[in-house]
Subunit: 552 residues, 2 copies
């Protein structure tokens, strides 16, 4: 039996486009004599559709799309697509998250998801009822265990460091195993996170080994606002070895002969060994590209400060959108160093990016004189720094409004964490490029970008970071050194350690207390920040829901 793995990039709610992609892939699979084509979870509507699932018109469109696909599959090729289905029972949530098994013009089986991830960025129990039963699908003499994404995740690493480690009450694979099957199909919508790649790998491997059966895993690719799906669909043999891996961050259709794999005759491929930084790089490029494409925009704008964050953001944006579609503003003030302009120009020239130099001094002076009667000779403080950041933001938004370029935000995760940024100033933007990337990782990205040639001026990489909002300002005036800061932040945010535990791990108590307090008191700022391209297992935004008003 020949199986096609169709790893495609869907748009949420774009039924016509998604269905047409699916049908084209079916044609491709048919042309190569496939018996079965597997698409990813909720492929018909795109994942995650969020509260669109609460709208009747959306569910009706999902159903119509599935019916249309069925009506187009007139032969005995089988197709597995993902879409919501209505729970016709008298109790429970209104929908199931389902895999539709379609062949010969008919929906032959609807298999519902059992394990509904409801943590981090996942809200599936908000919409879906867990399936109560597991059925094997028989097709061309084979017994298929068709599962949806999390159904393989009965055993998974701890989400918190209290309690125990099995978040669900049922293991659907055990039930399927009791009936007996030849191989597992898993349709997924599993977002990329650099520190989750190996977890996903081991979940697949361990299930294959435990049940001694191959797994055909099809994930979607493409980005939906903050979520970036890598794809990286694969086939694992019953020994847990990967025998096929589709590329990350792009569409791909690949084929396998499942009989060979069941017989243990498939040659094991080397896993694509990509390092963390190159994966993050490719993820961000796809994240920017899909945000613009799916929003219907072509052009970006960003502020170039001569520093490393805006430099890295610019290169990634140019890669994603093409240099002619990216525009930069240099916004020097009286506090800007000369190199901030020269480094920025050097980069823009390197990358063939259109730029304007728009000094903010006149506007800044106008603010100060306008506010003079209100401020009444008070001493300059962070207020005047924020005014400069807000002028820069307003100028970027003005060019954005005038010419239709979406503003990219260039703040990094370290800054976002401690609130080192001006709300409605440098925190503006339609999308945060680096908001899930710690400062120390931004350096890694810069070096990766420069691996073959000096694209980002070395001076932007080696100079001490500065916001340049007052004379001789350095980030290190307000913040611990980034190596130290990022270490504390990783423990607090990703690992959810308490301040006491972080101190016990060897960090300086005063620094830890200061950093933790900065994180806690910046929730209100982050709550108004742009969506952050998520590349870690705990990004700011939708997947991290801390109270704004609380004492802790």
């Amino acid at each position: 039996m020949k199986i096609a793995l169709a790893q495609l990039n869907y748009t949420i709610g774009a039924f016509e486009e998604n269905v047409s992609k699916i049908l084209q892939a079916v044609d491709t699979a048919r042309a190569s004599k496939s018996d079965l084509v597997v698409f990813s979870e909720l492929s018909v509507c795109g994942y995650p559709p969020l509260d669109l699932l609460e709208h009747k018109f959306f569910i009706e469109k999902c159903n119509e799309a599935v019916q249309h696909i069925a009506s187009c599959i007139k032969d005995d090729i089988a197709v597995i697509v993902g879409a919501p289905s209505i729970n016709t029972g008298s109790e429970g949530k209104n929908l199931f998250n389902s895999a539709y098994f379609i062949t010969n013009g008919k929906i032959e089986h609807v298999i519902d998801k059992s394990l509904l991830p409801t943590y981090d960025i996942f809200d599936e129990y908000r919409y879906f009822e867990p399936s109560g039963h597991q059925n094997i699908v028989e097709f061309k003499g084979k017994r298929l265990a068709i599962t949806v994404c999390e159904d393989l995740w009965y055993e998974q690493p701890l989400l918190t460091d209290f309690g125990k480690n099995k978040p669900y009450n049922v293991n659907p694979l055990e039930k399927l195993n009791a009936s007996g099957f030849d191989f597992i199909i898993n349709i997924a919508a599993s977002p990329f996170a650099h520190n989750h790649v190996s977890v996903k790998e081991s979940i697949l491997r361990e299930n294959a080994i435990k049940y001694n059966k191959p797994i055909v895993y099809v994930n979607q690719t493409g980005a939906h606002t903050e979520l970036i799906f890598d794809g990286a669909s694969r086939v694992i043999d019953s020994k847990g070895s990967t025998v096929l891996q589709l590329p990350s961050f792009e569409e791909s259709i690949c084929f396998i002969d499942i009989d060979k794999i069941i017989a243990g005759k498939a040659v094991m491929q080397r896993l694509l060994q990509e390092d963390k930084i190159s994966l993050i790089h490719d993820a961000i490029v796809l994240g920017i590209r899909d945000y613009f494409r799916k929003m219907g925009f072509k052009n970006a704008i960003l502020g170039l400060s001569g520093g490393i964050d805006s430099a890295v953001s610019l290169v990634l944006a140019a890669k994603a959108l093409g240099a002619p579609n990216v525009r930069a503003l240099l916004l020097p003030s009286q506090y800007s160093s000369e190199h901030s302009v020269t480094d920025a120009i050097k980069l823009a020239d390197n990358q063939h990016i259109q730029y304007d130099i728009v000094p903010i001094n006149d506007i800044f002076s106008a603010y100060l004189s306008t506010l003079d009667p209100v401020f009444n000779n008070s001493r300059p403080d962070v207020t005047e720094e924020n005014i400069q950041a807000r002028i820069r933001g307003a100028l970027l938004m003005a060019v954005s409004n005038k010419f239709g370029n979406l503003l990219l935000n260039t703040s990094n995760k370290s800054e976002a964490a401690v609130g080192y940024g001006t709300l409605y100033g440098d925190m503006m933007g339609s999308l945060s490029v680096l908001g899930d990337i710690y400062k120390t990782e931004v350096y890694g990205l810069a070096r990766y970008i420069n691996r073959n040639e000096e694209i980002i001026p070395v001076n932007s990489i080696i100079k001490p970071p500065s916001a340049e909002l007052r004379a001789d300002q350095k980030d290190s005036d307000s913040l611990p050194e980034y190596e130290l800061l990022d270490g504390i932040l990783y423990n607090y945010i990703e690992l959810r350690k308490s301040a006491d535990e972080i101190v016990a791990a060897g960090f300086d108590k005063d620094v830890v207390m200061r950093v933790v307090k900065m994180v806690n008191t910046s929730e209100y700022k982050r709550s108004q920040a742009p969506p952050v391209l998520r590349v870690s297992s705990k990004a700011f935004g939708f997947g991290r829901r801390m109270p704004l008003v609380a004492k802790y």
Copy 2:
């Protein structure tokens, strides 16, 4: 048996403060010879603690607080408090949402919540495992059915208009009823929504009638960022009549003799009949007050335009914080009408509010001349309007930064819905006062505020709404009349009707299509808006999660 209903206002994570409130209320109850004191859901830690529940240190503090309470109850008075408890089983989520029954220095019973709301603003299944069993608590000769909030909501109105209407698979009251009980205790954290008041009432009434038993319902009061809890705790007799109702939006301890109520001898009280607008008014005042108090701020600032939205916001802020703690800026431009300033001054004077007049013309000119080389003689458009709104926002934030006044946002729900506002301009603010109140309801609030005297200048109420960002601009140039607009919005947002259904209900097709499109394309704006004080059953923000990048 005498029962005290303790309706208190907790702060999330403020264990010391919460526990001290609880113990003080126990003292009060003891002094009045109560046998049992009932507190609300998650009273020990405050509701909703959100992702703090994923932190071990937070759970430990919850446990310590409950242990401390137990150690302080040395006599035979019983206390029911709410706190998370750890799921010691080997499967399922790590926590239960529990009611602790404490007496004689010991935790005698821990009763776990069965029905976990996971819709709108509720994410309980993100953290909690549903209870699998229901036990009756015997105390002083009575059999108590202790339930947590949603446990009474097995039967509830449809959340969507497809599927069926029972969102849960089990009715905990049925199980409890099989064991037999004398009355129901329900500890709740049920937020206020003006169009939900009667639903809540009927849920309580119908359960009382169905099981023919009284219900003692204790809700928390107080606001946590966007959520405002009214309290309105009450006692319903077995015929479904309310025999005691605690006040809305304030702390209160009341006492009942449950034997009298069981015997049907309690005199039925008249329900406090408050109208929608007065409830919204009181909710918003509490929402502002608690946001500031729990954030540790005293002073607010807002921009006064002479229009109705900022006028109503100012009055509500003054009520919440005291007039001396509210400051206003009047920010006229060349497009401001004379009455915009005179009406604003009249209001500020009425309310004894400190104000400054800060004209934005000089800054606006500086922006235009700075941008001139970039804009290159392009025609003025919405860009120039946005610049003005952003200057106003930046000036308000400057005074906020300089003097420590939190900025209140004054946009209404109609504007927020259709994106009629400038991101990083008039959409700035730490808290949105009117963001869940349609423009037509804002008029109702203004009339309510003026019910005894002219507080808001009548001219602010009767003049045609205008943003005054260009000459002779009126809201009606860009938007349908508000009566019409709000009707369409209510159908689309609250009732989740499709555009087709709204047209079928009699609205003009072109207008409906235009409005729905404006709502759909403004998600990115709203995603960066301040938290909105929620007073309806579907507010923008946390409870409404629409994809930013989608086609629909």
